[in-house]
């Protein structure tokens, strides 16, 4: 089992970080959570470690998101001054803006569609996604088709809106 987990760690760690990152939107936090998930797997030695890891990671990310939402509410109440003006390179701003737009677009998907899409992108098979999400295996293709279309549409409409706003 430890050997298996070592292999899974090699093949899945980055995917798990990516999966978590698109939930918590903080790279270091995503790495922390991924490592915590693997550390727990070392203790629990689950049978289907890969699936187990994603379930644990998703739960941790959900807890994290709730906590972040609470903190945001507090911050909103406390915040009275505008943000300091950043002097970051243009491409960095551009990348950040695109990432923010992707995030906004992902937020517009239904939770189930988003989960299926992120799991697929993390390298999970249809069978694994079906187990994780509780969807029928035959419904995964349709779910992914809808999720992808909605993501692209939401992203494009978001950027159009932004251009309009800028113009």
């Amino acid at each position: 089992m430890p050997e298996d987990l070592a292999e899974i760690y090699r093949s899945t760690y980055r995917s798990l970080v990516r999966f978590l990152y698109r939930k918590v939107w903080d790279a270091e936090r995503a790495e922390d959570l991924a490592q915590e998930a693997f550390a727990r797997a070392l203790v629990h030695k689950p049978e289907n470690a890969r699936g187990w890891l994603f379930v644990v990671a998703a739960n941790m990310a959900r807890d994290e998101a709730r906590k972040a939402a609470r903190e945001r509410r507090h911050l909103t109440l406390l915040k009275s001054e505008p943000d300091a003006v950043h002097s970051e390179p243009e491409d960095r701003i551009d990348a950040d803006a695109k990432r923010a737009r992707v995030r906004t677009a992902l937020d517009q998907l239904t939770p189930r569609d988003r989960e299926a899409l992120l799991l697929w992108d993390a390298g999970m098979s249809y069978d694994e996604i079906a187990i994780q999400t509780g969807l029928a295996r035959g419904a995964i293709g349709t779910t992914l088709a809808r999720a992808r279309r909605r993501l692209v549409e939401a992203y494009d409409s978001g950027s159009e809106g932004q251009h309009v706003a800028r113009g």
Partner: protein, 365 residues
């Protein structure tokens, strides 16, 4: 074959169709221009969606080796087993000892941690064997650990008042059990905790608080019962012994000034240069001086010092001796400086203590 739906097209492009399904789809697309176009469109959609997700990538950083991953926090790993163990052991210990108060013998590793004062029952009890004082310590006294800002176990007698009932002993003991379980993990989990109550012979199961439960919760859950003694037995009791020894010494040994200490030793009291001296104390018999020095806010070392030519020096560990077998004698590091034998004790490894002991020298005024 009718036209192919989006889901099947995506499953095909994702490589998730069975060979039979795939062959059927390919045969249809070869004959259906509309579906062929849609296949191209969906392929482009998948690439686009994948590209968008690629914009939201965390920076690539090397993964730490698996074996170096920090383990889940101790609290996370132990919270459930510890809560259960504490509850069961406490209940078992209560039931066992409440039914047979007189049968308890003092095992070498046994540590007496708390004593409720109060009246005749106290005097009638052979409390000397446990090295417990018959009278409460001065009001407001608290041990060095209790003074420290970091969270440490509460001492039962820090708030004790003359003639007051002593429910706090039981409360604090229960809290200590919870805390120790977290701090010391297996050591406490493998221990046996027993509590004897004074009023009846009946077994009284007391629920132990969950490790995270704050003292008020424990207070509410515990019966307000005066407590005779709380004993902690454990196979791996070094830490508890250390704590108990310090607590006993702290309450029995009066604080003295440097002058009287110099008189006892016939030399300046010893200490580790550079460390703050918390207190200088003397043993009840007045022959041993103990200097407490703080390494940090929660770590205090103790240096037991005695004149070698003293009649009472019998060439053995007087630090352990001073506890009158209340704790198991542990090997202590000692050295002679001039005419004074200095022993060191503290919650550090033998190696660290040894290194500190090497630095010990007379501390001037």
């Amino acid at each position: 074959m009718s036209h192919v739906d989006d889901g099947t097209l995506h499953a095909y492009l994702d490589g998730e169709l069975t060979p039979v399904e795939r062959a059927r789809l390919e045969a249809h697309v070869a004959e259906c221009a509309a579906c062929e176009n849609r296949l191209d469109e969906e392929r482009a959609l998948i690439e686009r969606a994948s590209g968008l997700l690629g914009l939201a990538q965390p920076p690539e950083r090397a993964a730490p080796p698996l074996h170096e991953l920090r383990r889940p926090s101790v609290v996370w790993r132990l919270r459930v087993p510890v809560a259960w163990a504490a509850t069961v052991l406490l209940a078992l210990g209560l039931g066992y000892y409440a039914g047979d108060r007189t049968s308890m013998s003092v095992a070498p590793e046994q540590v007496a941690m708390y004593s409720a004062d109060s009246s005749a029952a106290q005097e009638a009890r052979p409390n000397d064997r446990l090295g417990l004082r018959a009278t409460p310590p001065p009001l407001g006294y608290s041990s060095p650990r209790a003074q420290a800002p970091a969270p440490t176990r509460p001492l039962a007698w820090t708030e004790r008042k003359e003639g007051e009932r002593q429910p706090t002993a039981l409360e604090s003991a229960a809290v200590v059990t919870g805390r120790d379980s977290i701090l010391f993990g297996t050591a406490a989990a493998s221990g046996v905790i027993s509590i004897r109550t004074r009023d009846t012979g009946a077994a009284n199961a007391v629920p132990a608080p969950a490790p995270a439960a704050p003292p008020p919760t424990a207070r509410a859950a515990l019966p307000q019962r005066a407590l005779e003694e709380v004993d902690v037995r454990t196979r791996n009791a070094t830490l508890q012994r250390e704590e108990a020894r310090r607590t006993l010494v702290a309450t029995e040994w009066p604080i003295i000034r440097r002058g009287p200490a110099r008189q006892i030793l016939g030399a300046e009291p010893m200490g580790v240069p550079g460390l703050a001296v918390r207190n200088i104390r003397r043993s009840p018999s007045g022959e041993i001086v103990m200097v407490e020095q703080a390494i940090d806010s929660v770590t205090v070392i103790q240096l037991f010092q005695q004149r070698v030519e003293s009649d009472n020096y019998r060439g053995r560990s007087f630090a352990a001796d001073s506890l009158r077998s209340a704790t198991a004698p542990t090997e202590r590091l000692a050295r002679f400086i001039g005419g004074v034998r200095v022993e060191i004790a503290g919650p550090l490894s033998a190696d660290s203590l040894n290194r500190l002991l090497e630095q010990v020298k007379p501390i001037g005024p």
